[in-house]
Symmetry: C2
Subunit: 354 residues, 2 copies
């Protein structure tokens, strides 16, 4: 029993031809009761399972949705994937997660190609706008939806956060607290999301009559280490900011660490606001004020759309925007006096987190 049994073996035992066995097993077409019984018994005895690879090579459905990502490490990505997975299973599809780093890299080309053949549809999560694979996909008739993408237009359905508007809301929250020197911690440029968030940041400053200060925009990657490094750089300025808007929650964590390790307090000395609202943000210290993304709705729509396409339906290649919501916790507070160079007064850590 070490090797998988094949249809022809089942057929031989049942004393029929392979195609008859195939029919019986799939429950398609005419098969006499007696033959069916014999076949099913033989199949059970041999522990037969159809070879989906072979089926798929013929062009049949696999009921699999490929989720292509560029970075296993990210926590937001983890949340997005989880939401997608839940949604897909609810619709009878399973998820195959593949980390390509870059879909058009020659080393992955074959695999990417194979997986797109294997899967009924594809979800590209946070794809790199510079990735040539996007163009390939436009041309293929492969059902495909982009998620968390806000870069150059692509002729495919795109689920995008309202990055610009959300960022603007975040900065407006800071402005309302009296902050004037507000820094922006930028992420990577890959998906275009960071650039949009930066635009929103500038929108808010402009509307408040504040000139953007180039030295207050730093960053480089959507992770903790980058947030930490960027915050350190900001804290070393002659006139450090009194508030920081991080392009995502993970960067915010890093910034908070950097502030703490300088002996300063959040939000007493510096306020920090993030973006995404991953579940952990209510558990870090201090609980993070951030912009929440409607993860469940976004995943539902994304999966719904690929499934529709996979089943032959049509989905317009439009950008579908999802609104962000401000979640106020305890990492933001009123602006202190002027420059927050030295540890000033400590503020209200408030009560425990839920």
């Amino acid at each position: 029993m070490r090797k998988t049994s094949k249809l022809s073996e089942v057929a031989k035992i049942a004393g029929v031809s392979p195609i008859t066995a195939s029919r019986a097993i799939r429950g398609v077409g005419y098969v006499s009761e007696s033959a069916r019984a014999r076949i099913m018994e033989a199949a059970a005895q041999l522990n037969y399972t159809p070879d989906m690879l072979a089926r798929r090579m013929r062009g049949d459905k696999s009921n699999l949705i490929g989720v292509f990502v560029n970075n296993y490490g990210s926590l937001v990505l983890h949340e997005v994937t989880r939401a997608i997975s839940t949604e897909a299973r609810a619709r009878g599809y399973d998820i195959l997660l593949f980390n390509a780093e870059r879909f058009d890299s020659p080393a992955r080309a074959g695999t990417v190609d194979m997986l797109s053949k294997l899967c009924d549809g594809l979800l590209l999560v946070m794809p790199n706008g510079a990735d040539g694979y996007l163009d390939v996909l436009e041309q293929h008739r492969m059902p495909c939806v982009l998620v968390h993408y806000d870069a150059r237009p692509v002729n495919l359905p795109v689920m995008a956060l309202e990055n610009r508007n959300g960022a603007r809301m975040a900065v407006e929250h800071l402005l309302a607290l009296g902050h004037r020197r507000i820094a922006f911690l930028a992420g990577t440029s890959a998906t275009g999301q960071s650039a949009e968030r930066e635009k929103g940041y500038k929108d808010a400053l402009r509307a408040a009559g504040i000139r953007a200060d180039a030295s207050l925009i730093v960053g480089g990657a959507f992770n903790q280490a980058a947030g930490h490094a960027a915050a350190q750089q900001l804290l070393a300025l002659n006139r450090p900011p009194t508030a920081i808007f991080a392009a995502n929650d993970e960067m915010a964590y890093g910034a908070i660490d950097a502030i703490h390790s300088r002996g300063m307090k959040v939000p007493g000395d510096i306020s920090v606001i993030g973006f995404d609202d991953i579940p952990l943000s209510s558990h870090v210290f201090p609980p993070l004020t951030t912009m929440r993304q409607p993860l469940a709705e976004l995943a539902a729509r994304a999966v719904g759309d690929v499934v529709t396409m996979a089943q032959g339906g049509t989905v317009p290649p439009e950008r579908v925007p999802f609104a962000m919501e401000l979640v106020i916790r305890q990492s933001t507070g009123p602006a202190a006096t002027a420059g927050a160079g030295q540890a000033a007064d400590s503020a209200e850590p408030a009560d425990g987190n839920v």
Copy 2:
């Protein structure tokens, strides 16, 4: 160019037979220089990529390692997967992540089967000991390694944490701080890990001459919600514990929340220690004391072993143990007085987290 081009098309353009084209493209066997040149040009022109599905159906390598998991949601799992991914790529393999919930569920059977055919090797992360698929794998000659599994013996290589010993160390830390009423927050029974940790918990108590109190062992799942619920139950006891050992970090977070929302302090009123040391544990409040697992080494060994098997080597079907290390942060402190029913004195929150 919408459909993928096939070898026969390349061959036709180059004016050779498919098999010759195949040879040229794979760089195998004799092909005249002129033919080779024509073929390569045709391939480039058609943007040809070999169909790995077809190749694989003939039994060729895919350079893919399938990682089967039961639960996308878990944070530990996320860390494990990330480590595995890094390690695999370093060895020239890519990872295909599949969430089966239960590998032997009839609904997944076909997919699981196909994926095991598709991949050169399999890594089962935190598999369910009750899963019949484990038996199937024993019989297949499929290269396969279990990771984070500590249940019934299986005739396959298993990477296992020193769950029992690690748990004992955790509880000993609590004992050394003067705690006598120590609770255990159990996880799910699926992988056997929780049961082993519970044994270690009892070992430590026994060695300290303390009788285990059944009412102090509660739990049910390896997540925050379960930790929260379990802690609430403990806090409602007539004589609540002064310290809690959670079967993993996520449960510990939940427990800390429950304690906080009762208006009590950690570790002032109750100490909490976790298990795993996921990166976030140094960022929660208070920074979590926990047992660190040697993630990188474990992943390296796991991947190394499947790869060895995939390449024809042999790996003994042994349990490979990995030692845990106590990481003391700020969620554990000296036991207060007797019963910690009411909020007693607040303790040392110490300085900021790194």
